[in-house]
Amino acid sequence: MILKPRPQDFVVIGYYLGKIILGLALSMFVPVFAGLVFFREASPVLDFLIAIEIALIAGLLLTRACSTEKELNWMQGMVVVSLSWLVAMLLGAIPLYLSGHWKSFLDACFDSMSGFATTGLILVQDLDHLSFTHNLWRHLILFIGGQGIVIVALSFFIKGFSGAFKMYVGEARDERILPNIIHTSRFIWFVSIVYLILGTSALAIAGMANGIRPASAFFHGVCIFMAAFDTGGFAPQSQNILYYHSLPFEIITIIIMILGAFNFKLHYHLWTGNRREIVRNIEMVTLFISIMVLFFITGFGLTQLGTYPGLAVLFRKGFYQLISAHTGTGYQTIYAAQFVNEWNHLARVGIICAMSLGGAACSTTGAIKMLRLGIIFKALLEDIKRIILPERAIVVQKYHHIKEIFLEDKQVRLAFLITLAYFALYWFGAVAGSCFGYPFIDSLFESTSASANVGLSCGITNAAMPAALKYIYIFQMWAGRLEFMSIFTLIGVFVAVIKGK
């Protein structure tokens, strides 16, 4: 029997949703401040003031109408998280749409969800003339989404409470770095801010060395860092990373993308002196092997066509797109059409596989993730050992993830379940794309990119694509970023409201 949610459930959900909306409203003061003080852009600032006012009205109404002191249970926590991301998409899209650079509110919502989910697919028009204020917001939503919208609220706007962990898990972060979840959230912010300072400085210096004016180099540095570390893939100019025509810039972004793909727990251990963890950790070992294998496939595909003159050029182009795909960033140093016209199927299959796998768990990447892949391989090894060894032999499989962990069926089942869910999501989008008349391999490429929150495009994503496909990609980005559980819970609650007793 399905139980109908009680009115009290909606009150609690509304209250915490209101708090998160207020948090989002406050985050919009960053572009307002930058727009007034640094960029002196009056009209774009107005777009943000309107969005802030709408968010504050909605947040105030919800927190007052649903005022409660009750704490969240699992169901409520998951629903708050899934709804928060939808609300964030709508609110984040308001200033974008008001700028006039998006053809419709749906397009603005698409880019907003793409930003919050750290995907990087874009429908913006004439990006090269977009205001600095709006451009900063595009990159800031990547940063907020990468850290986790709820983590932002947890860290700054919600005092410690036991329900925090439920929302933290709902955002696909199931690892506690520190015993207290608020301290964990703050550590994630601390790591990100330190890297923000270092990464921005490195990119700004590289930009100035490339001939960009200091103020512009700093702006590009901040934006590119936020997009690379949070594995988002937005860039301030329409040519993405190709705009800079710079090897140092590409090398720095590769380093930042890889750092963004690390587990925050691994960051913590590296920072506290446990440097051996980087070579022992199952995620790092799996990531290294995966990159090697997939680069071999991609590189082999590229050599067949002879598009690139010489191995050094082939390595530079192939490796950059592969790292960008594997870390889920989506930065490109080639045009989308070149994927279709100048890369053969084998090279594209290598990139699709890299996109579908992603980076480490508890990082800013999306997709299946290295921990699950590692666990599945360990389970496979265990089964092979069982077959080979005598029946009476006791087979025990362990893996190293910060500490030695015995492999349990429960972990394997969960890893398989989420992996299957991702594959289903990839195929769903690919079939949908094919139904709209796109070639299957291109549809699979774009669908995997959206679901795994990567952002590489082979050209399907543009403002002229069917609206239904835009909705499908928005759903894929949302489901892929939250790793299904909170989405399943939200669907379950809808079913319970209709069918429950």
């Binding site: 009209s43 006012e53 977009l130 205001s131 590409e250 690139y308 140093t333 016209n341």
Partner: protein, 169 residues
């Protein structure tokens, strides 16, 4: 003598046509769009082309050379040119605050430039300013409609806040 002259003319024309058609570099008088270049990169690879568009973003000087990015309104392509060409043209680059100079570039197109790490680019040997850019005065002004909407919403927000405070008390 006249016949000999005609034979020479025909031979010259044949050689010229052969050179234009079969050699590595082919001249295109009409500007080619960015989409055409990107989607048919192999066909234009290594050929001399004309490309027109607006200069956008930063003008990046690299020693005696420079990179500029030129958009035709749909896609932007990087153009590599010598510093003296840049100096002659004295370019204004487009951004939110300005519309950049509209230029025409004559140069060699590369689908994967060996000199620049495989980038799709144009090595220009001639640029011409077709129309000058201009600053955008709207960048620093308020939009009246948006200003009114912001004031109305501010009023609504204030009202809701006061009512919420009263209810709370």
């Amino acid at each position: 003598m006249r016949n000999l002259f005609n034979v020479k003319c025909v031979m010259f024309n044949v050689i010229l046509l052969y050179t234009l058609h079969f050699t590595h570099y082919t001249a295109f008088a009409q500007p080619v769009s960015a989409r055409e270049l990107i989607e048919n990169a192999q066909a234009y690879d290594g050929k001399t082309i004309a490309y027109a568009g607006e200069v956008i973003g930063d003008i990046m000087r690299r020693g005696n050379f420079a990179w500029i990015n030129v958009t035709d309104g749909e896609k932007a392509i990087g153009v590599w040119l010598e510093g003296h060409l840049l100096k002659q043209a004295d370019l204004l680059a487009g951004s939110y605050r300005s519309t950049g100079d509209l230029i025409e570039v004559i140069g060699v197109f590369h689908r994967a430039c060996p000199e620049h790490g495989g980038d799709l680019d144009i090595h220009a040997f001639e640029i011409e300013k077709i129309a000058p850019g201009r600053h955008n005065p709207e960048a620093s002004s308020f939009n009246t409609g948006k200003r009114n909407a912001a004031v109305v919403l501010l009023g609504a927000l204030g009202l809701i806040w006061i009512l919420a405070q009263l209810k709370f008390k």
